[in-house]
C-alpha cells in the first residue's frame, strides 16, 4: 500500500476511534441537559474496575418489580414507564415490551423472582468517585443509614428517550462526594 493510501486509511481509523468516545459524550450530554430529572432511592457499596477506577454500586428499591405478565424471560429487553410518587421520588408505572408514551428507561430482565415478580438491572448503577472517596462513601452511608433523622439516599438521574444518565448521588441533602469531605472534618 502506498503511503498516501495508508494515511487515508489511518485517518479513517483515527476518526472512528475518536468518534466512539465523542458519541458517548453527545448521548450523555443530551440526556443530562434536556432529560427530565428523577430521584431513585438507592443504597451504595464500593467496588473496583481495572480501567475506570473506583465506584460505588447503587442498589435500587425499584429493581424488584411486580407484573401481571408471567411470560417474562431472563435477558429480555424491557421498558419501565416512570412516574413520581407523592414525595417526588421515581416509581415504576409499568413494565412492558413496547416503548411507553411517557418517560421510560430501557432495561433488561435480570431474573424472575416469582411468576409475578421480576428483578431488573437499572442502567445507571455505577457512580465513579475519586479513589479515596469511594470506600469512605460506603462507610459514611453505613453510619448514616442508622441515624434517627435518616432521609432516603437517592440517585439524581436525567431521563430522555429511554436513555438515562446518573448525575449525582445525594445523601442527607448533599452530593455524596461533599458529604464524604464533610465527614472527614
Amino acid at each position: 500500500m502506498k503511503t498516501k493510501h495508508l494515511l487515508i486509511a489511518f485517518a479513517v481509523t483515527a476518526l472512528i476511534q475518536l468518534s466512539v468516545p465523542a458519541k458517548m459524550i453527545y448521548d450523555c450530554e443530551i440526556t443530562a441537559r434536556q432529560g427530565t430529572e428523577y430521584k431513585f432511592k438507592a443504597e451504595p457499596v464500593d467496588p473496583n474496575d481495572p480501567f475506570r477506577g473506583k465506584y460505588i454500586t447503587l442498589s435500587f428499591s425499584m429493581e424488584n418489580l411486580t407484573t401481571k405478565d408471567t411470560t417474562w424471560l431472563a435477558g429480555e429487553t424491557a421498558y419501565i414507564a416512570l412516574a413520581k410518587d407523592s414525595l417526588g421520588f421515581a416509581k415504576a408505572a409499568g413494565l412492558s415490551r413496547k416503548k411507553p408514551e411517557t418517560d421510560y428507561i430501557t432495561t433488561e430482565i435480570f431474573y424472575k423472582i416469582t411468576d409475578t415478580e421480576v428483578r431488573v438491572k437499572l442502567p445507571f448503577d455505577r457512580y465513579y468517585m475519586e479513589e479515596s472517596k469511594a470506600p469512605e462513601a460506603e462507610t459514611a452511608y453505613g453510619e448514616y443509614a442508622g441515624r434517627q433523622d435518616y432521609k432516603p439516599v437517592y440517585a439524581l438521574v436525567g431521563v430522555k428517550d429511554g436513555n438515562a444518565v446518573l448525575k449525582d448521588v445525594i445523601i442527607d441533602g448533599m452530593p455524596i462526594k461533599d458529604y464524604v469531605v464533610k465527614k472527614r472534618k
Binding site: T3, L6, L7, A9, F10, A11, T13, A14, I16, Q17, L18, V20, P21, M24, I25, C28, A32, D49, P50, F51, R52, G53, K54, Y55, P123, F124, D125, R126, Y127, Y128, M129, E130, E131, K133, V165, L166, K167, K177
Partner: protein
Amino acid sequence: MASIIKELNELVANNVISPQTARDIEGYYAINKEPQGNGLLTIFGSLGAVLVGLGIILIFAHNWDDFSISTKTILAFLPLVVSQGLAAFSIIKEKSSVWKNASGVLVFFSVGAAISLVAQIYNIPGNLGNFLFAWTLLCSPLIYLLRSNAVAVLHIVFATYFATEAGYFNPHQPWGYILLIALLLPYYLQQLKQERNNTTAALNWLLPLSGLIVLGSFLDGAGTFGFLIYLAFAGLLQSIGFIPPFSDEPRKNGYLTLGGLSIAIILIMASFRWVWREVVTDAVPGIPFIIAWLMLYGAGIYFSFLRKGAPKSFEPFRTAAFIFPVIYLIGNFNSLVPSILTNLLVLALGISIIRAGVARFDFATLNFGLTITAVLIACRFFDVNMSFVVRGLLFIGVGVGFFLTNYFLIQKKKSNPKTTNYEN
C-alpha cells in the same frame, strides 16, 4: 528506503530495469529494511509504550474530583490525539518499526483510556466484556496500517481477556472473539511468509495459548463431551505444528509444544474414574457441539496430511488424540472399561515419549515422558484404594526410574558424541 523506491521509478521509466525487477527490489527492502539490532529496540520501545499507556489509564482511574467535566473531557482526548499524531507522523515519514510499534501501542492504550474516562465522567456502567471488545476492535486496523507486531500481541491478549470475561464470568458465548482472531489472521499469515523474527515467534505461542484458554468459554452445556472437543483442538494444534514453517524451528513452535502438553493434561484428567461415571449419565451433547468437534477433528486430520519434518517424538500425542474418541464412545455404555483404556493410553503415551527421547538422545523429551508416567501413577493414588506401603514403593520406583534413565542416556550419549540433540 524512500529514496531507493523513488529511483526505481526513474530506472523503470528509462528502461534500465524491468517493472518486475523493480517490484522484486521493493519487496526485498520491505522485508529487509530493518537494520540489525532494531529488533531489540522495537521490543523495548513497545514495552515502554505499554507501560506509559497503562500509566495513563491508571492516572485517569484515580478520578480527579477537582477537574470540571470539560477539563476531564479534554484530558480524555488529549493522549488519543497526540498518539494518533505520532502514528500518522511515522506513516508519513516512513519511520522505522520502532516508531510504528511504539506509536501503535500508545494509540491502543489511548483509545482504552478515552473510553474509560468518558464512562467515568458520565457514570456509564457498561459491562467490562463489551468495553474490551469495542476497544480491541477499534484498534485492529492499526495492526495492518502500522504493520505492528506489538499491536498484534496486544490484540491477542485483549481478545483473550474479552473472551474470558464475557464467556467464563457471564452466561453468553463470546462470539466476538472469533471475529477478532479472524481480523488478525491475514496479517499473521503474511508475517509467517515474510518474516522470521522473535515477535512472530511470540505470536506462534500466543495464538494457540489464547485458543486453549478461550475454548472452554464456548463449552458451557457440553458436559464431558468438552473433553473430546478440547482434545480435538489440541490434536489440531499439533497437526498445525507439523507443517512448515512451524516444523522447521521447534523452539518457535508453540503449536507442537502446547498441543502436546494439552493432550497429556486432558488425557490424564480423563484417566479418573469419576469422569467416566459422568460420561455414562451425561445426556447426548447438543448438535452444535458435535459439529464443532467434527470440524476440529476433521481439520486436525486434514493438516496431518500436509505434515513435513518436525521431530517424531511428538507423533504419539497426535495418535493418542485421534484414538481417544473411540474410548469415549465406549464410555457411553460403561464406566470401567474406558477408564482402564484411558490409563493404558496415557501409559503407552508416556512410554513411547520416553522411548523417543532415548532413541534421539533428547533429555527434554525423555523427562517429559517420565513426567507423564509419574503424574499418571500419582493420580491413581486419589481414586484407587492402595496401601501406603505400596504407594511409597511405587513413588520410590518412579524416582529411581527418573535417575536411571537419565543416567543411562548420559552414558549412551558420551559413547556416541556425534548424535543430534533435539530439545523440544
